[in-house]
Amino acid sequence: MLAWTCTNCTEPMTLVQKVNSATRRVPAWLLYILLPVPGLWLFWQAVQNQLGPDPLDVLENGLGEYALQLLIAGLLVTPVRNLTKINLIKYRRAIGLMAFAYVVAHFTVYLLLDQQLYWDAIWKDITKRPYIIFGMSAFLVLVPLAMTSNNLSIRKLGPLVWRRIHWGVYYASVAGATHYVLMKKTWEFEPLMYLAIFAVLIGYRFIRFRRRMIA
């Protein structure tokens, strides 16, 4: 509340104050409308055959990438608050749930349009192929996170248990990026970038956690 007790109130608001006051006016539910747009647009283009000769490939990859990007956005909330005092925490649940929605969409496209419910092949994929195992396990770990992303669950579980469950996002992010890295036939820059970004975002938390333990 320090910002409100300034003695010289004609002083212009800093950027941080501006952003934080703007977030008071922009409701979180808006994200549930905005964030699905790129995925729906991609799907629409794929249906219209506007994504080149292999629309499935573009759609499947695109949905997976959007999921990774939203996971990054969700993991950025805390470091941004610590480092800049910009507080976007009220959007984090929407970001996380939309990341999960993209994972579900990606997985659905894989099942229905890519593998076309050939269960033999899918079962072999899930049990034998490392890149699918990473992707699949990331999805499974995210299920309880999505299911408990509501106020009732936080109240019922208590903040400590709830937080432990949601540490799963660290595994899911790294496994999701690893899934992308291993899917490529060679070491490719873009998937490795995702992995590196997650490593930084998680490493940051680890270092902070250790510092607090020592302090």
Partner: protein, 310 residues
């Protein structure tokens, strides 16, 4: 069973002439025609001999399916990358150095090679190791014709191929993750098989640069990466020559790399594939052993354990 439907039929494709005329009209309207820059772009039709018994009767993919979507890591790892960057490649002049165990070694100019052969159309199924497939109307000639001209010695058992190495024009070759230049190889009987061709065109047009201009190998019963592009060197050898993907990941890519639904790639099944060109909802198609060319080539591998020699 193998057939798939595309919206476009061979006969529906805009002929290249009409396409270029259209461009000329547009360019003319823009006042570029006066500069005379378009005239050079119009190429003569290759007028290849049609109706080869080796051609499939399946509907070929459209020119627009075949040319913007392929792997050619010399121009980047994404499938649209070759079409974006291959224009930088100089393909004229071009020559192929033929050497090793031959009696007529030398640097053969492309025009000289083409003078001695009859170009014919070969409509082949093309199966990528990534489990997608197309049907491509190649224009080319049998590799056996060129090898015969070089007059192989009796001791020659394999044929090694090499792609151009020119990082200035092929920026992908600046990447250290590949042992450039790209190399591939065939056993002598595979190389001499009538199905094996050197392609110089698609749809009676000169091969677009992204597809491996001006001269590439096509071996339709093997995964696509065996069909090495933009060839500058052919060497006949006694020992099995190296093959790039096999060098990088021997557990994933064998020397033979015959299309085989019974042998999975470690990262995906090869039992079926997605036909390109059928849109988002195209049905998967079961993959046939030797990509459906078993009748012609299965005998080459009699007695070999193809699970081990994949």
């Amino acid at each position: 069973m193998y057939r798939h439907k595309t919206d476009l039929k061979y006969s529906d494709i805009t002929p290249r002439n009409a396409f270029l005329n259209r461009r000329q009209v547009i360019a003319g309207a823009a006042g570029l025609a006066a500069a005379g820059s378009i005239g050079g772009a119009a190429q003569a039709k290759l007028m290849a001999k049609k109706g080869s018994p080796y051609s499939t009767s399946e509907d070929a993919n459209s020119f627009e399916d075949v040319t913007p979507y392929n792997n050619f890591y010399e121009f980047g790892t994404g499938k649209p990358d070759p079409a974006k960057h291959a224009h930088k490649l100089t393909t004229d002049p071009w020559s192929v150095e033929i050497g090793g165990l031959v009696n007529n070694p030398g640097n053969y100019a492309l025009e000289d090679i083409l003078k001695e052969v009859t170009l014919e159309e070969r409509i082949y199924r093309f199966r990528c190791v990534e489990a997608w497939a197309m049907v491509v109307p190649w224009v080319g000639f049998q590799l056996s014709d060129l090898i015969a001209r070089a007059d192989p010695m009796g001791s020659a058992r394999y044929v090694a191929f090499e792609t151009l190495h020119r990082p200035d024009e092929m920026h992908g070759q600046k990447s250290k993750s590949f042992p450039w230049p790209y190399v591939e190889g065939l056993r002598m009987d595979e190389a001499m098989h009538p199905l094996t061709i050197l392609a110089t065109g698609i749809y009676d047009e000169e091969l677009p640069k992204q597809n491996g201009a001006p001269l590439r190998l096509v071996v339709p019963w093997k995964y696509g990466f065996k069909s090495i592009k933009s060839i500058v060197k052919i060497t006949l050898t006694e020992k099995e020559p190296p093959a790039t993907w096999n060098l990088i990941q021997p557990g994933e890519y064998g020397f033979y790399s015959n299309v085989n639904p019974e042998v999975d790639h470690p990262r995906w099944s090869q039992a079926s594939h997605r036909p390109i060109g059928g849109g988002l909802f195209a049905k998967r198609v079961p993959t046939l052993k030797f990509n459906g060319y078993g009748e012609e080539v299965a005998s080459l591998y009699a007695g070999m354990d193809l699970h081990k020699l994949y």
